[in-house]
Symmetry: C2
Subunit: 205 residues, 2 copies
Amino acid sequence: MEFTSKLIEQAVGHFSSLPGVGKKSALRYVLHLINQDTQDITNFSDVLKALKHDLKFCKNCHTISDHDICEVCANPIRNQHLVCVVQDYRDVMAIENTGLYKGVYHVLGGLISPMEGIGPSNLNIDSLVAKVTSQEIKEIILALNATMEGETTSFFIFKKLASFNVTLSAIARGIAVGDELEYTDEVTLGRSIINRIPYNTSLAR
Amino acid sequence: MEFTSKLIEQAVGHFSSLPGVGKKSALRYVLHLINQDTQDITNFSDVLKALKHDLKFCKNCHTISDHDICEVCANPIRNQHLVCVVQDYRDVMAIENTGLYKGVYHVLGGLISPMEGIGPSNLNIDSLVAKVTSQEIKEIILALNATMEGETTSFFIFKKLASFNVTLSAIARGIAVGDELEYTDEVTLGRSIINRIPYNTSLAR
């Protein structure tokens, strides 16, 4: 793709560096922005800069926050003895949206992935161990993706924390609500039989 | 979607205002950007601001350019008597990429669309008429989309320029190279028969 303007080329370059955005989409975004108000673009530009300069991460759980301690960690109603370990901020949002979790979080900032050069030292694992050592944590829920990287990371954390007096659990894997048995893959279906739970009428919804 | 950070919410708002970008994709972009170098984000932010402040449009053909007169209009080899009328900058790029056009362009900046409130006065049509009046233009090629809006705009320009001593032509509509007849829609196939051309071995490629 050849551009007649260096500025357009630069802008397309920046947008196409975003995950899943190609050059054609990037050009579409740039041409859309050119037609917007100057104020809109200035705001957009300022917010981008602020992302690096003003964004804070909770000192306790490493999630993105506007304060030094995030709203979840600072909430006295939340159970501070129950910690849910997640990959990133999106998972915190997803679990918060269920409205069913009353504990706090610990954001790893990624998963162990030798392919991408991400090792345990790149993740917030040491601070999780420190938390278990220094604070009164009763249970840690591992809520990582059911992928190779997620399972590896879960196992690594399990080994790190096995000697501590803390209950380790993992979120249930099984058939999604609304899904049909015959279309579920064997691994998930197999696991859902092995990890069966006592029948309870409150689950039937 | 509820965010724990106002800054993230603002950034997601800006990205999701781009055409075809939803809130989930926008959040993905924002989280990707947070992990980039400060310098990268600063450059991205500066380029966005520059889009409004430094971007120039060619005074002759209205295309996006880094100079007052674009490279195509300023090129003495290009045929200044042959003008191709297009909707926007992307179409200039598409035609330039063919490497087969040796004339110059005239960018309308949109198409007549009463549904979107775009009338002839919002487009660069007056300057096209002025160009035909003042300069020695021999032929104008209408290269607009084969849509309702494109056809309407083509017809409007045809009516405006009919009284001038200039040849008006339109790009050929027909079956795309590599396409199969049986899967082509009837309108296109019908047009390709009516507008048939003398057989020429150089076309068979």
